[in-house]
Symmetry: C2
Subunit: 208 residues, 2 copies
């Protein structure tokens, strides 16, 4: 076996180049030649390590999913000891919102993929999977919190989780569009969580 090259490393290098382009200039700007230029290799190398463009796009989507998953887990792990449902929610939602430049680029690329998948059957199967696992996990957490008395009994945990995830996605869109800062988005989520975990009975009657 001559000229040993780490194929996985090569593919990673090219996938990262693709995601940089997608995050800065959009999926529209992603072409085989642009990826080659961004990765500093020739067009032939891109062709050599991926059978076709679709395989490259699939790889980008897989990497993006892995990155988001990693971010969520890292945030969750960072709240060691802190096992309250609220801190878990804060970690997950904080991982979804773009904060630094890198997560902004990834979030942009993800949005581009999601939107493309809405009208592209080749991407739909991979990009439009329902985030069931995350929703189930958070719902379980919230149900436990409710049983412990940390959440008002008339609240529905699953609906609350669905609300929070949709809210985080909606806020992400506005942050990407620079309509609000990520701090402003975080403040809105905190406000919402404040109301969610408020004691059931307020002590003063409504003024009338």
């Amino acid at each position: 076996m001559p000229k040993q090259v780490d194929h996985d490393q090569r593919r990673r290098q090219l996938t990262e180049a693709l995601l940089r382009i997608a995050g800065t200039r959009g999926l529209r700007a992603v072409s085989m030649r642009e990826i080659a230029a961004e990765a500093g290799v020739s067009l032939r190398v891109v062709q050599y390590y991926f059978t076709d463009k679709q395989a490259l796009l699939d790889s980008g989507l897989t990497e993006l999913t892995a990155r988001l998953d990693r971010r969520v887990r890292q945030r969750a792990a960072a709240t060691t000891g802190e096992l309250s449902a609220r801190s878990v929610l804060e970690a997950v939602l904080g991982a979804i919102l773009p904060t630094d430049e890198q997560s902004r680029l990834d979030s942009l690329a993800w949005t581009a993929y999601y939107t493309a998948a809405l009208t592209d059957p080749a991407l739909a199967a991979t990009a439009l999977i329902r985030p069931d696992a995350l929703e189930d996990f958070l719902t379980t957490r919230l149900t436990t919190a409710q049983q412990a008395g940390d959440l008002a009994s008339e609240r529905d945990p699953r609906t609350e989780v669905a609300t929070l995830l949709a809210l985080a996605n909606g806020l992400t869109a506005s942050v990407l569009g620079r309509q609000r800062s990520h701090e402003a988005a975080t403040a809105i989520i905190d406000y919402h969580l404040d109301r969610l975990f408020e004691p059931t009975a307020t002590l003063w009657p409504p003024p009338d």
Copy 2:
């Protein structure tokens, strides 16, 4: 002046063809020739009525904005007499969520435009305007409701409105991705509004 043709009508016809393509096959599939085919005219006609592709895209975006605006106003007008803040919010949020096939197509096209604008300076100026007018209008409505005692005094009207709009956008994304039905999305919004307009003091103490 020979051969009188209604230019505005022609441009509308072409703009609608563009939006049909954008809503079904994405902005990616929008080309001068595809628009011509969709509108049932020759390429030359498309060129004749729009100086270039960018002008056509701008026209599509303008029309889309007008349609959304029209939908919101129609829903608002349909709740005649019903002047409660909640019914106004229901009307606006219901107009944002895709319900029938037409609003789904428009919502898809809008999402495609918004996403493209995130990485395309030529669209950014028009597509990424902050929806200040709507947010201000709803905030004023909610503030009035609060003064009338329909909203708990510790709620912040502007944050609540921002939350609702972001929630509606997030839910729209999930409806477009067929991750939930528009009925399920509406139920989530109703649930949220139930909590928002709940009497301040609940009558029972939290179980502990």
